[in-house]
């Protein structure tokens, strides 16, 4: 059978048959084709870039070029998990797991918090309830050339090396998407910085659609032959959201949307300082997803427990009195001479041998043994692996060596945690 080509089809009304409009769109059983190919008034549509929109797909086998689950390389991108707390005036990792704020040169501390998405907003209707939120302090001396303020997230090296992104190729892509909201309507910059080998940076601009208005950002990033990611537990890429970088770190001629060798003095275009110099200005972020491929897909919502388990590789609060008064069980303990010690198991294994983050205050803990209770202030790290830690109270205890006992909290704010953050 030879090929058939229809040209100069006659116009007809109705919804049946095959129909090509004057723009070249073809419809089958469609009143008016809305895309390059439109079957059944939108039931199946193919757009000019080859993207198909289908109402329902019934299939025996579905083969996809990108993975269908575990697409999002970002952990806790919906900002649901906040093991350390929900508000802090310190920088670093203090609230939402895996996200931090950092910088230098500010006059007044900023407040970082796990914020809430208001009902009725578009992020809310898409299932987002929490944000990573920064509230500015009063930067009374204004913006300086050396001042820096950013929020950031660090991806572990092996999570990039094994992601499926052929990062050395300029025809292989990852796509970053997120929602953000700023009380100040100005342009900010996002910078991706690779950490292995010769560090490289990629920057792009984001501008909200208005003050205090949620804006969805989607940005596709191509690979580069200079990128390097080891298959290990080190730092891979840090994604910065620059709220303000002074001119010591920026240039007016900075080139956006391309990888280049990292330069401390050329990380972004010169920035307006409006947000930085506005007391109580806010910036919120949620729904952050980095996925392999050139097309954005809907955010991969994960259950709270799944996300919590992922976070625990980097920070694990193994005991929390959760605000409850009275003695609460923490662990088993055993006395040695002038000390009481216990072993704690971290599940899952942590990224590296972790630091101990533990309450320190008068009589915060107690060990009960041989019908006697000893109160003490805190414990320290003795030995550690990625899975186990031996912690010891070496002052304030006076039990008999060789006796076992119970380690308990003795106040409402007691916690024991381990940090192996990047």
């Amino acid at each position: 059978m030879s090929d058939i080509r229809f040209e100069g089809w006659l116009h007809r009304s109705g919804t049946g048959g095959v129909y090509q409009d004057s723009a070249g769109n073809v419809g089958i059983a469609s009143t008016q084709p809305q895309t390059r190919l439109d079957i059944g008034n939108g039931g199946f549509q193919v757009g000019p870039t080859g993207i198909a929109t289908v109402t329902t797909v019934n299939t025996t086998n579905l083969v996809n070029a990108t993975q269908l689950s575990h697409r999002n390389i970002i952990i806790n991108g919906a900002m649901e998990v906040a093991q350390r707390g929900t508000s802090s005036t310190s920088s670093g990792y203090q609230t939402v797991d895996r996200f931090r704020h950092s910088g230098t040169g500010w006059d007044a501390a900023l407040t970082q918090a796990q914020g809430s998405v208001s009902s009725g907003t578009t992020p809310y209707t898409e299932g987002f309830r929490k944000t990573f939120k920064l509230t500015n302090g009063n930067q009374s001396s204004g913006a300086g050339a050396g001042d820096q303020l950013s929020m950031s997230y660090i991806i572990e090296d092996q999570d990039l090396a094994t992601s499926g992104w052929n990062y050395l190729s300029e025809t292989s892509y990852v796509t970053l998407s997120f929602w953000f909201k700023s009380s100040v309507n100005q342009t900010f910059y996002v910078v991706l910085e690779s950490k292995d080998g010769t560090s490289r940076q990629y920057s792009f601009a984001i501008t909200p659609t208005g003050a205090d208005t949620w804006t969805k950002v989607t940005h596709t990033i191509k690979g580069n032959s200079g990128l390097q990611f080891s298959n290990d537990n080190g730092e891979g890429i840090e994604i910065y959201f620059l709220l303000f970088y002074g001119t010591n770190q920026t240039t007016s001629g900075h080139t956006l949307n391309t990888w280049k060798t990292t330069s401390a003095s050329d990380q972004a275009p010169d920035m307006t300082s409006t947000w930085f110099t506005t007391n109580s200005a806010t910036f919120e972020l949620t729904g952050m997803q980095l996925e392999v491929g050139s097309e954005v897909t809907p955010f991969e919502h994960r259950q709270f427990g799944d996300e919590m388990a992922r976070c625990k590789r980097y920070y694990n609060k193994v005991f929390d009195a959760e605000g409850q008064s009275g003695e609460k069980p923490a662990s088993l303990a055993v006395y040695e001479t002038n000390s009481a010690l216990t072993t704690i198991f971290n599940f899952p294994k942590m990224r590296v041998v972790p630091s101990l983050d533990i309450t320190n205050g008068t009589n915060k803990f107690m060990v009960r043994s041989n019908s006697v209770s000893d109160h003490f202030d805190t414990m320290s790290l003795r030995y550690g692996t990625t899975q186990t830690a031996e912690i010891v109270a070496s002052s304030g205890v006076s039990g008999t060596a060789g006796y076992g006992g119970y380690l308990r909290s003795a106040d409402t704010d007691v916690y024991i945690a381990f940090s192996a953050e990047l």
Binding site: S90, G92, G234, V352, P354, S355, L381, R382, S419, E421
Partner: protein
Amino acid sequence: MNITSAKYCINLDTNENQSIKATIDGVEMFVPISEGNTHYDEIMRQVNAGTLTITAASN
């Protein structure tokens, strides 16, 4: 990472340094003497840069 103090903690059994008690971003941490731990690496970076001193342990 803002580190405002660092002091070795001693293992009473072996009399060797077992960890570093440090205040990092306002939070007191017991940092293992272990490369790869971000806190330890940053402490040593600042020590090598001459901007931080680790105080000896007190028995």
